[in-house]
Symmetry: C2
Subunit: 148 residues, 2 copies
Amino acid sequence: MTTILLAADHAGFALKSTLIERFQATYQPYTDLGTYTSDSVDYPDFAQRLVNAMTDDTVGILICGTGIGMSIAANRFPGIRAAVAVTPEMARLARLHNNANVLALGGRLIDAETAIGIVNTFLATNFEGGRHDRRLSKIDLVGFDAGA
Amino acid sequence: MTTILLAADHAGFALKSTLIERFQATYQPYTDLGTYTSDSVDYPDFAQRLVNAMTDDTVGILICGTGIGMSIAANRFPGIRAAVAVTPEMARLARLHNNANVLALGGRLIDAETAIGIVNTFLATNFEGGRHDRRLSKIDLVGFDAGA
């Protein structure tokens, strides 16, 4: 079973705790990379922690107020494909077409049940490949060009 | 008045055309970077075009099926802060907290009136600065570290 890595800032801390309770109840392996309190922290520090821990066998969940800041920070890294999703349909399309490996959630935008639906859909959907694979290759070509 | 740069793939072409009609009607300066037909293209090529054309005096709108692929591709670049938004509230928070300079829209997720509401809110909202500024600095520090 794929291990889920989780990281959040203070605005995502409560939703992260709720997701962890659910993972425990369903025997879903996870690693909690913090934050561990509701004290104010900087989301890029936690995006960095998660990116550093990602492997081919993990998926990530990053949570801030909207998911947007986390997605900007995480997508700086070649190999990371972080998708903001506020509905299960967005999570489904992010897996099907973008082979997203990180879900970026908004602790201030969605309730716990919506978040659980999004996570379950994300985990249950496989990448479609084909023409989408060519496009993903271009994303990291593009990224590497810019870094050169 | 800020010039808006627009780029889309085939799934975003129709919504881009609608936004351009609105910009013409409201005398909003814009530059249309394509695609110019509904033939299938690869969204990273159009994300790259827009990134190459961005300056401190422009904002960008990228449109694909969900906005997610475009946001992953564009956020590979330091200095680009691309926000997926499916509601005006997401656009507002992306400006207030993330100083987003690119809006990533989903031509298959939102209708034209919703998109126009999102764009208007994005353009009308200013960055809040303060603690958010420190966090944004960390995003690009992080990005540069990874590229080294």
